[in-house]
Symmetry: C2
DNA sequence: CTGTTAGCGCATTCAG
DNA sequence: CTGAATGCGCTAACAG
């Protein structure tokens, strides 16, 4: 039943060599005669030997493991990041230990301690909003990379989307497709992503000599808010020909409200969201144009950066803003 | 910079005891004088000592780690399960090593090997559909529990939702609220969940002397399919007063179609889905009544079962079907 | 109660 | 090129 637990010394004696030689052979190390290397490899295969990585870690001093600390697994932002990271890491021989702090600082600290005691070689800290979070400090002794949610310490390495640019991209797309009276339905107040996008939008509008229509103000990241904000907009005397929403969910609510009011999308009014949550944007009729934050890429990049720092390379500290990508669907351009 | 790596023997000598005593003290083991235990604990704290769990694992023979093998991280089914499991496991001192096989058998095998070489104490295999999957075999030497997606080997331990009962629950709810002409919009053909639900629905209908209206047939798990299936239904001469959809996404599509045809929900037609994906069911207007699969509970239970088997308890093999839970919203009952 | 002695399985000096 | 010896940090019998 229980695995025979064939050890390296089993292989060694079976192959008629010493433990040390077997180790070297299996690790492709330095000077071992090709012939013996092959013989050891063969017997290892026969015995279906598998390294005990616990023991290996102990003597090597590295565990081949990285921690993945997330604050909310359910979040739709941390998940793609996690996937990208897991993908890149898993391919590189290293395992990922997952910890969900549930947004609780105590629990986070506990997790960090157990991760550290497990001798992880590096740590990825991923959050689900772009407002900076408290740094874990520089005393951890291992490389740490903050993903999506940046650290508030500029000495840390953080990867986050360039939401200002995302705002520019969105506004420019609407302008390019002929819209002039663009309303911005915002997410929650005091939210960095929303603020950054607003900035980018304003910049792009100014470039074009236009002014944003910004009546409905802030709300939740929900369809409900999208519906009511849009109703407000349509109820006012201000004419609009585009609604730019801070999230796809808000945009979906807006779509329903526009339709209920008899406005056709995109003919009467163009509609856009952010995040490119295809679950929403690709399912509606018409699909909703959005700006993708390249989250999975971000996770992958974070993993690569971690790898690099294992090799001794030092990535530049500070917050690195990653490019976003426009995804056009029917809500801004007919036909498509 | 690098952690001082204070070891147990550092603590021991600092506290003026032997290594062994220090170990026992810190582990709250057998006979150690209360006084010395405290002294050791104190110095350990002073030196901010932290166990090296790699070394500990090596000598104990157990790693305090379980593998979590999933086939699709993005899946909305595996995620809640994973959360529940991570929660229960994390609270119990054990860490979770995450592996995503991306639905690829080769990759899955690779992951299993590295997990095994990492000496995991147990394995959770979670999938995102309820059709049985190939067993990993009984030769792994550690307890394995299949979650959501059951194993095809009855000797394995599997946890999965009771979709037959879910079907009954759904149909009974519609019947209880006075519906008689109920259509079932199904998901993909050859899908176990859909088949099980159909069975339960039929049973409940028969109990009430009713017959299911089942014209539109099978389709994708998408809003699009929900829309077209419902359009078909409404276009036929058969009158209906309820649409029971195999998923919330399908139901949402159905809602749009009903509305487009001028049917009011729930007054003219009641509407239900399965899975209780609140992202959808709670956001629409009205909310969509659904049957929750208790996924997070399932994950938690899986973790507990794993724990139990560490303690030597043997859970009964076979597939255990877990109860589902009706969640009533506005789409089946006015007001609420 | 406490300290001594062995390993856990492997990588790594350093002689041969 | 190969092998005997040493240690990673800790737990687990044993003696004292």
């Amino acid at each position: 039943m229980a695995r025979k637990a064939v050890t390296l010394s089993d292989v060694a004696s079976a192959a008629g060599v010493s433990l040390a030689t077997a180790s070297k052979a299996l690790n492709g190390r330095a000077e071992v005669k090709e012939e013996t290397r092959l013989r050891v490899a063969a017997t290892a295969r026969e015995l279906s030997f598998s390294h005990n990585s616990i023991a290996r870690s102990l003597s090597r001093g590295r565990s081949g493991t990285v921690g993945l600390l997330t604050s909310d697994l359910e979040g739709r932002f941390s998940l793609p990041v996690l996937m990208g990271a897991e993908d890149a890491l898993g391919a590189g021989e290293v395992s990922v230990v997952l910890c969900d702090a549930r947004g609780d600082a105590i629990r986070e600290q506990r997790h960090i301690n157990t991760l550290l005691s497990r001798q992880i070689d590096g740590l990825l800290v991923v959050g689900s909003r772009t407002d900076a979070r408290p740094s874990l400090g520089r005393q951890l002794g291992i490389p740490v990379i903050y993903v999506y949610t940046p650290s508030d310490d500029p000495a840390d390495i953080s990867l986050t989307p360039d939401n200002v640019e995302a705002g520019r991209i969105a506004a420019r797309h609407l302008i390019t497709t002929g819209r002039k009276r663009i309303a911005h339905v915002r997410g929650e107040i005091d939210n960095q992503a929303s603020a950054d996008r607003a900035q980018g939008i304003t910049e792009a509008m100014n470039e074009a000599g236009l002014q944003i229509i910004n009546e409905p103000g802030y709300g939740e990241w929900t369809e409900r808010w999208g519906r009511s904000a849009t109703s407000l907009l349509l109820g006012s005397t201000t004419e609009i020909d585009a609604v730019l929403c801070d999230s796809d969910q808000i945009a979906r609510g807006a779509l329903d409200a526009l339709r209920a009011r008899g406005r056709s999308v995109p003919d009467d009014v163009a509609l856009m969201g952010f995040d490119n949550w295809t679950l929403i944007t690709a399912e509606t009729q018409p699909g909703i144009t959005s700006v993708d934050m390249n989250l999975e890429y971000m996770g992958r990049l974070a993993a690569r950066t971690l790898f690099a720092s294992f090799e001794g390379e030092v990535a530049d500290a500070g917050i690195k803003h990653l490019l976003c990508r426009l995804v056009v669907r029917g809500s801004t351009m007919a036909d498509s």
